[in-house]
């Protein structure tokens, strides 16, 4: 009759408990990457800024005499050879000392961190808000993309995708603040929830269309997978098919894009921050570059590099959370 049936084909052989080192390895590898990144960012910026202008001139002002300049050079060590300056600078950076702001005299890093707080507030709000819009709408659109209602909504979203964030911001200010006096038009107040609404909504209008489209495309793709057919053959209701089976598989793309958008907000939020007089790191970067405030620019680049890196690491982490297959693959 038939062949032997008692032999079992093995599940994947799990190795014995991994060592501590093996467990920490992904983290170590990440830290190694971060160290390289920071080294290159700091070095590159150090030399680029030296090309951009003479810090002594900035410190002393344009009408300083050659003696004053020489004195300042001596005081700040700018008369030493460039490489000595570089090593001394890097030594200080290792201790998170970027020097004092040339404009205000505060430690540069403090100044950046103070502004960063505000940018992060806004960015996190915007990310949370866009994600909570994009996932339900995207799931709904991707579930049966060919129906008429969804096509119309899809087309509207497509149009919104082409509208820059500052246009939405200006329209919202005009309507809600100027015409109807419902909300304040500008200002930063961490405890004043009303000041949050227009900036958050403007950023979300900018971010969400893309997120919705990516989510919808991924949901639509997941709906064509074999496991959806299996679930249907097992009697799953449409709602279960979508939320239990398709959406969890589709969120990887959403998470990836969300990470990219978050990272872009870190460096590129200057326009929104200017429109709303919401001073954050985008605004600070503009300001310090214009006034050649070297320590602040350098501290800021350093902080943004760490932030962007962290966001990417968080996205990777979310992948592992969302997809068990990535959990067991190591790095």
């Amino acid at each position: 009759m038939s062949a032997a049936t008692n032999t079992t084909d093995a599940t994947t052989g799990k190795a014995a408990q991994p060592s501590m080192l093996a467990t920490a390895m992904p983290l170590l590898l990440q830290l190694r990457k971060l160290a390289f990144l920071l080294f290159f960012v700091t070095t590159l910026l150090f030399f680029l800024l030296r090309l951009a202008g003479d810090p002594a001139l900035v410190l002393a002002g344009n009408d300083a005499s050659p003696e004053q300049l020489a004195a300042i050079r001596k005081q700040f060590g700018l008369d030493r050879p460039l490489f000595i300056q570089y090593f001394s600078y890097m030594w200080h950076v290792l201790q998170f000392d970027f020097g004092k702001s040339l404009a205000s005299g505060e430690p540069a890093l403090w100044k950046v961190l103070d502004m960063l707080k505000r940018t992060l507030h806004l960015a996190v709000m915007a990310v949370v808000f866009s994600a909570s819009l994009a996932i339900p709408i995207g799931a709904w659109l991707g579930f049966r993309p060919e129906t008429l209602g969804r096509r119309i909504v899809g087309a509207i979203i497509f149009v919104f995708q082409g509208v820059p964030g500052y246009v939405t911001a200006l329209v919202l200010i005009q309507l809600l603040a100027v015409n109807w006096h419902l909300l304040p038009s500008l200002g930063y107040g961490p405890l004043e929830w009303k000041t949050w609404i227009i900036p958050t909504v403007s950023l979300a209008f900018f971010m969400a269309p893309n997120l919705i489209r990516v989510t919808a495309a991924n949901v639509a793709e997941a709906m064509r997978e074999d496991y959806i057919r299996t679930a249907r053959a097992n009697g799953a209701k449409p709602r279960e098919l979508l939320w239990k089976h398709a959406v969890p598989n589709a969120l990887l793309g959403t998470a990836a894009l969300l990470g990219t958008q978050f990272a872009m907000l870190m460096g590129g939020s200057a326009i929104i921050e200017t429109i709303f007089s919401w001073p954050g790191i985008g605004w600070l970067l503009l300001e310090s570059v214009q006034t050649l405030d070297f320590p602040v620019v350098q501290a800021e680049a350093f902080v943004i590099a760490i932030l962007v890196f962290t966001i990417n690491a968080l996205v990777d982490l979310s992948f592992r959370f969302l997809d068990p297959r990535l959990r067991s693959k190591g790095t």
């Binding site: 038939s2 032997a4 079992t8 074999d226 057919r229």
Partner: protein, 568 residues
């Protein structure tokens, strides 16, 4: 064996179904009728496109309603209720409850982000009013019935942590979980290795018999049907052309198509003989041009004996773990000290299951994967140091012609690409060469401007062969060249390969998991298992009188018509 019941579990009457495209209507089913009694195991056989999977899907109305048309005269009765007239809620109760399904691809049929536990609970709690604790006990029992040695672990595993065979056991356990009256199994073992297939099929049969569950087994493999089914339906182009008790249909086929299908199987035919492909031309619309020699092939004399390719202790390792500095700390060994000699003009086959290292070995021979240890010589020279012209004498044909041909290139460019690597040629020369090569492999030379998607699977594999032949190779590596093809098309490709070998004295290294194909085409056979060659010798000797334990297991597992009939 069956509990005779008057009331059939399934009664399909005059079912027709058409797929509606933008402006096309494709008729997939043309009035089929089919009955399954309680506890009966029924086979549904046919080649791809015959409509067998559509029939299965229709049983649970799984095809999109807006895109299909079913005439009002059709009915699909499951336990005397017409599935076609059910409401969505009724349908959801039947799906996974009274009727459950097992699908072909265990790798994709389970949701990758949910644990086995969650997926089994999903079905059980939907159809049964029991507590989670009881459901859990039920699942563990079901998995144990599937002869899973550690059901607790499997229960808590994610699908990717399980092998293909394990996943299919989980699927079967799920299918039985709500005590269905019918299980529809759509090619349940096609994606699995033969030894695993044998286990899965007997588990399925055992459970079905024990629980008196009817099974509709859909397959292209007549040997599987012969082994498992009480009755069989043969489908061809949306119609049922023959039905009856398995032994009658296979032992004494009435319809021309059934006969052709049986004749196309290499099993039981004289080695290297031409396989009959009567039906082939009419089935696939396969190229009407007949392959090169019209005369029947003379069996090629077993090689002039001069070694062409010699493999000495070849080892292939892939890095699998890295340390902090990115250095490799561990390897997976795919090929582990393999030695093999291939003589001029002979066909040597490597048989083995997935993961045994046979494809790694082939890729090493064409330089796609570096050798980690050992030595390979071609015509006495080290393979790694061959001059380009000699190296070109070794060519490869891959398994899946769907993915091994660039979809945006016209056929003439695909076929002549190896020629352009060898040196610059004019477009006119290349096109002329492509035309000749097409004729050689039995394709119409007028088709050289078409794109790959305009061809059938068999034709695409002919294109792949033509590409390999373009630089006049002496040694052709054939990596599972027929495993993606239907039986009747497989017969054509095997005939073509034999013709070409007879005409040009080619040497073949044929890699396959299909024992009857290997037996048909080979002079010598090497059996590969876990990276090593465990047995080698003349084809008939190795396959008929295996000495190694693994070879014996393999041969026992191969479903075979002969075995079934000699047992009777």
């Amino acid at each position: 064996m069956n509990t005779a019941s008057d009331r059939p579990v399934v009664r399909i009457e005059n079912l027709s179904l058409a797929f509606l495209g933008q402006d096309t209507v494709v008729e997939a089913l043309r009035g089929i009728s089919l009955n399954i009694a309680a506890g009966e195991i029924v086979g549904l056989v046919g080649e791809s496109g015959s409509g067998k999977s559509v029939t299965a899907m229709s049983l649970l109305r799984l095809l999109p309603r807006g895109k299909t048309r079913i005439p009002a005269t059709s009915s699909v009765n499951v336990l005397d209720r017409d599935v076609l007239k059910m409401s969505d809620v009724e349908l959801q109760r039947v799906r996974g409850g009274e009727v459950s399904m097992i699908f072909q691809e265990p790798m994709t049929a389970l949701n990758p982000v949910l644990r086995v536990r969650e997926q089994m609970f999903d079905v059980i709690l939907r159809h049964q009013k029991i507590t989670e604790d009881d459901a859990r006990k039920l699942c563990i029992d079901l998995l144990r019935d599937m002869k899973i040695s550690d059901p607790e672990r499997t229960f808590n595993a994610y699908p990717h942590e399980l092998s293909g065979g394990m996943r299919q056991r989980v699927m079967i356990a799920m299918a039985f979980s709500c005590r269905p009256k019918l299980i529809v199994a759509d090619e349940p073992t096609t994606a699995l290795d033969v030894t695993v297939q044998a286990q899965i099929l007997s588990l399925l049969k055992e459970r079905a018999t024990a629980t008196n569950t009817a099974v509709l087994l859909i397959t292209h493999d007549l040997a599987v049907v012969a082994q498992l089914c009480d009755r069989v339906y043969v489908m061809y182009k949306g119609k049922i052309v023959e039905e009856g008790p398995t032994k009658t249909v296979i032992g004494n086929p009435q319809h021309i198509y059934t006969r052709a299908l049986l004749n196309a199987l290499p099993e039981g035919k004289a080695p290297k003989s031409r396989l009959e492909t009567v039906a082939a031309a009419m089935i696939e619309g396969e190229a009407a041009v007949s392959p090169v020699p019209a005369a029947p092939i003379q069996p090629v004399q077993v090689a002039s004996g001069k070694p062409l390719l010699e493999i000495h202790g070849a080892t292939v390792r892939y890095p699998s773990r890295f340390d902090f500095l990115g250095r490799t700390t561990a390897y997976n060994t795919a090929v582990d000290g393999v030695s093999l000699t291939i003589n001029e003009g002979e066909t040597v086959s490597i048989v083995g299951e997935s993961g045994c290292g046979k494809t790694s070995l082939a890729n090493t021979l064409v330089g796609l994967v570096p050798l980690s240890g050992g030595r390979i010589t071609y015509r006495g020279q080290d393979l790694a140091k061959l001059d380009p012209a000699t190296r070109r004498e070794i060519q490869i044909v891959f398994q899946d012609p769907q993915s091994s041909l660039d979809p945006r290139w016209p056929v003439w460019r695909i076929i002549t690409e190896p020629l352009t690597v060898a040196g610059r040629k004019s477009r006119a020369d290349l096109r002329a060469a492509a035309g000749e090569l097409c004729t050689l492999v039995g394709l119409d030379p007028k088709m050289i401007d078409r794109l790959p998607h305009e061809f059938s699977g068999g034709q695409r594999q002919r294109i792949a062969v033509a590409r390999a032949l373009s630089v006049r190779p002496r040694l052709l590596l054939l990596d599972e060249p027929t495993s993606a093809l239907d039986v009747s098309v497989q017969a054509q490709i095997l005939n073509l390969l034999l013709d070409l070998q007879a005409t040009y004295g080619l040497t073949y290294l044929f890699i396959s998991h299909n024992v009857s194909v290997v037996r048909h085409i080979s002079d010598r056979v090497a059996v590969m298992y876990q990276g090593q060659i465990v047995e080698t010798g003349p084809a008939d000797q190795v396959l008929s009188h295996p000495t190694h334990a693994y070879t014996r297991t393999l041969m026992d597992a191969v479903p075979s018509l002969e075995k079934v009939f000699s047992a009777a």
